[in-house]
């Protein structure tokens, strides 16, 4: 046997470390490459990761996909590796041919408004039909196109508006308190965006597919998940726990927050509006009017209810109020959702119907409805915003709408102070919560 083993070893001089280890590395690399051809949907916990993978440049998601997960859960529970705090819920997420979250062909003209912004505009954590654009469409009886998740570049928005057959109308730009405003892009950046906007759909789809294959590794996802399963604070310490902050509500429920959101709440950020002024100018060139929706962070809304909230410095949490006041002074239509959501959170707390998911950064369907009603109320101040006919002179209509909105806004809030504006919002928010409660 020993002789046979030695013969075997002599016959296979390649079985040395210098032969085996490089080939092993190559085999793992090939396995990684091969697995990239497979879909990642079964490995994802929500639609966002699955549909972002093959996103063509300029689009928000992979076009023409429907994602369904009966056991989706929140991003913060995933970020902190806290399976015990997951709130499982079914999630249906459909994208249209342009790579945005719309179902049932809502891009057919006439489209009254385009909703752009971050994951709140997309409707992360919500099912199809529960997002801001869908809600506004139902509430106001016209089509709102959800373009959430796209680069908020005016050239791209204008190109999209043309593609949707809009000649005038509204761009609702949602902005979340935790996220930084994008910088006004350089000329180079804008040229790049224009090139992207002019790409043939098949080319951009191919580019998105290549990028997805390069950037997303199913093998990496599996390895990460396996390690996270082991790091359960029993076998191994959970090194992800510090990625989130746990707060306790009076109901006894634990709510998760982003540490950076808490820092931002406590910090004093200057309310810069250069970006918004630039965006308004650029959109008006194409006959579109800008309408800003300011979304408070979960911490801003729920901090006052937390049993273990850390003391905050004076003036903490007033960032959106200050942004709102400056936008109003600059004549940019805006609605600040801080008051409606804060009031709504207080009114629904006892019944444990939260406006934000306990395990997620984003709002629940109920929170989205409160937001939809508050935005809808603000838009009703001047229906010509979203009722501007495609045949009417778009730019002129938009300008007229904006001036009427300013006039009516000023008449409601003569000082344009955050407090007085907040009071206006508060009235509409209570009504919004009541209506939401009666119409689940």
């Amino acid at each position: 046997m020993v002789a046979r083993m030695s013969i075997f070893r002599k016959a296979n001089p390649g079985w040395e470390m210098g032969f085996v280890i490089p080939r092993l590395l190559l085999a793992i690399a090939l396995a990684d490459a091969g697995l990239r051809a497979l879909p990642v949907d079964p490995l994802t916990f929500r639609a966002w990761e699955a549909l972002k993978r093959f996103r063509p440049p300029g689009a928000a998601f992979e076009p023409g996909r429907r994602y369904y997960n009966p056991q989706a859960y929140g991003d913060l529970a995933a970020l902190g590796n806290l399976p015990e705090l997951r709130q499982y819920r079914p999630e249906t997420f459909t994208t249209d041919v342009l790579g945005f979250r719309n179902h049932g062909g809502p891009w057919r003209p006439p489209v009254a408004a385009i909703v752009v912004g971050d994951s709140f505009a997309v409707g992360a954590g919500l099912n199809d039909g529960e997002d801001l654009a869908s809600g506004l469409g139902r509430s106001l009886g016209c089509r709102f196109y959800n373009a959430g998740g796209m680069d908020p570049d005016p050239d791209r928005i204008l190109a999209l508006a043309r593609r949707l057959g809009m000649r005038g109308g509204l761009v609702i730009h949602e902005h979340h308190e935790d996220f930084e405003l994008p910088a006004v892009p350089t000329d180079w950046r804008r040229r790049y965006q224009r090139v992207l906007a002019s790409l043939d759909p098949s080319v951009s789809e191919a580019a998105g597919r290549v990028r997805g294959l390069v950037a997303v590794s199913p093998l990496k996802i599996v390895c990460e998940r396996t390690l996270k399963d082991l790091e359960d604070d029993r076998a191994l310490p959970n090194r992800h726990a510090g990625n989130v902050v746990k707060g306790t509500l009076p109901t006894g429920d634990s709510m998760l927050f982003l540490p950076s959101g808490i820092e931002k709440f406590n910090g004093r950020r200057p309310p810069l509006i250069t970006y918004w002024e630039w965006m308004q100018r650029e959109l008006r060139r194409g006959g579109l009017e800008l309408f800003v929706v300011l979304v408070p962070s979960k911490y801003t809304v729920y901090r006052r209810f937390l049993a273990d909230a850390r003391p905050a410095p004076e003036g903490a949490g007033d960032y959106l109020d200050r942004v709102e006041a400056r936008l109003r002074r600059a004549g940019i239509p805006v609605v600040n959702l801080t008051r409606p959501l804060s009031d709504g959170a207080g009114e629904t707390l006892e019944s444990r119907e939260y406006l934000y998911w306990l395990d997620d950064l984003h709002w629940t369907p109920k929170g989205a409805r409160v937001a939809t009603l508050a935005v809808g109320d603000a838009l009703r101040l001047d229906p010509s915003f979203y009722l501007s006919s495609p045949s009417a002179g778009g730019a002129e209509t938009a300008r007229r709408s904006a001036s009427r909105w300013r006039a009516s806004s000023a008449s409601q809030a003569p000082e344009s102070t955050p407090d007085s504006m907040a009071e206006t919002s508060r009235v509409s928010s209570s009504a919004a919560v009541r209506r939401t409660a009666s119409n689940p």
Partner: protein, 463 residues
């Protein structure tokens, strides 16, 4: 860039290796080694490449000067200028803020804050302690006539920026790889390839499987040492002793293995230190390139042991204080160096009695002293060190680290290999098929761990 990263394994190493062996002749290979070193370094911060280049250039010119001039004044100038410059850079980047904050603390304590200094906004360049020592040893050895300085700038640049030893050692002296560099055009690709990969794989497994797993369990527990019970504190400190050993010896093995792949023999850095029978023996086995550096360039110039006994002890203490400070700009490191110095002096005073003890108790005693010193080494502050040592040496109720059921078997395995197993230089690196399969399995497990997590930096990067 880290050796234990996917970009290193899948991009940097294959490109560096394949191009190196495609190139023929000395100069192209020197240039390529230098370029890869700078690329490797720039992955951390490209701006500090200029600092390394400046240090390299000054030492290279000093070497040329020493080659050309024989009169003592000029030779001394060629020694003093580059060494002063190198140490000044090291002093500024590593110790300036430490000195200023220490002065400020003194002021607030003894002079009611009557004078305070503003600290600098400094980023410590990774590996500055290591490449500074490379250039210093080169110039000092050239001055002493131990080496003949090279006329080839790229040969010298490839030595200083040699990526396997660039950011965390071993502190290779020019004379140790001079002949390999001199014959780099005649090196054979396959001569040491198996040995190189064997070293690399073993180091990789030591780092990713042993050191990182142990570190992942003890680090969260050590973040709040006040919560630890006596057993918990001992587990953490014992775990750290193995973590630091497997982390750094793993890195050194990888460096040696990479050296072999490029036809260079890097020296041994760890010689089973946990089998040492006393503290002096320990320091001959632990981080050999560093301890020999301090022996040759600090301890012996101070007079070594060829002086009176009090002066010998002074030399020992000064050397260990400097070695402690080299590890980091903090009083915990200085105190740790002082403690090691004290233990070396005590050993010298009691060596006769110590040697009469059974061998196993000498080893156990040495290891116990080392583990105790690790409490100081691991602590972020003197108050943490006092707290940790207090919990170790008194009966305290409290918690044990989360993951102790995993930590204990890992400590047992780590201990068995460290205390009883051969070190990588004692191995023949000719493996039977079953061993190759076992190592390949562990290696692939490590790669998959890298896939699933971000790479953990080596502990000695901070020094």
């Amino acid at each position: 860039m880290l050796f234990n990263s996917l970009i290193f394994l899948y991009a940097f190493l294959p490109i560096a290796y394949l191009v190196f062996w495609k190139l023929q002749g000395k100069l192209p290979r020197y240039v390529w080694l230098a370029v890869t070193g700078y690329v490797f370094y720039s992955f951390w911060n490209y701006k500090f490449c200029a600092l390394m280049l400046a240090s390299t250039l000054v030492s290279y010119l000093a070497g040329l000067g020493l080659l050309r001039w024989q009169d003592p004044f000029r030779r001394r100038l060629c020694l003093v200028v580059p060494v002063t410059l190198d140490l000044a850079l090291l002093g500024f980047f590593k110790y300036a803020n430490f000195a200023l904050t220490s002065l400020n603390e003194l002021s607030s304590r003894w002079a009611a804050g009557s004078w305070t200094f503003t600290t600098f906004d400094i980023v410590l360049p990774v590996g500055i302690s290591f490449y500074t020592f490379h250039t210093v040893t080169y110039v000092v050895d050239a001055y002493r006539g131990l080496i003949t300085p090279t006329r080839s700038f790229f040969e010298f640049a490839s030595y200083v920026s040699l990526f396997p030893q660039l950011v965390a050692g071993p502190i290779v002296r020019f004379r140790q790889i001079e002949s390999d560099l001199g014959q780099i055009d005649r090196a054979e690709e396959r001569a040491d390839l198996n040995r190189g990969w064997s070293f690399f794989a073993l180091g990789f497994i030591k780092k990713v499987l042993l050191a990182d797993t142990i570190g992942g369990i003890i680090s969260p527990a050590l973040a709040d040492p006040a919560q630890l019970s006596t057993a918990g504190a001992w587990l953490c400190v014992l775990g750290f002793a193995y973590q630091v050993y497997y982390d750094f010896s793993g890195y050194s093995d990888m460096a040696v293995g990479l050296g072999h792949m490029f036809g260079l023999q890097l020296p041994q850095n760890f010689d089973s230190p946990y089998r040492a029978t006393n503290m002096a023996d320990f320091w001959r086995r632990w981080h050999i390139s560093m301890s020999s550096f301090f022996r040759d360039y600090v301890y012996i110039p101070l007079g070594g042991n060829r002086v009176s006994r009090p002066k010998h002890y002074r030399n020992l203490m000064l050397t260990m204080l400097v070695a402690g400070l080299w590890h980091g700009a903090a009083w915990t490191y200085v105190l740790w160096g002082g403690l090691i110095g004290l233990l070396l002096i005590l050993h010298d005073l009691t060596s006769g009695a110590w040697q009469r003890l059974p061998l196993w108790s000498q080893r156990l005693g040495t290891f116990f002293l080392w583990v105790t010193s690790m409490a100081l080494f691991r602590s972020d502050s003197l108050s943490m060190a006092a707290l940790l040592l207090g919990r170790m040496f008194s009966s305290q109720a409290g918690s044990i680290p989360v993951g102790t059921p995993v930590l204990v078997p890992f400590i047992v395995v780590a201990g068995l290999f460290a205390h009883l197993g051969p070190n990588t230089f004692e191995m023949k690196h000719r493996w039977a098929l079953a061993s190759v399969a076992g190592l390949a399995f562990l290696f692939s497990l490590c790669v998959l761990v890298l896939y699933g997590s971000s790479s953990t930096p080596f502990l000695y990067f901070q020094f």
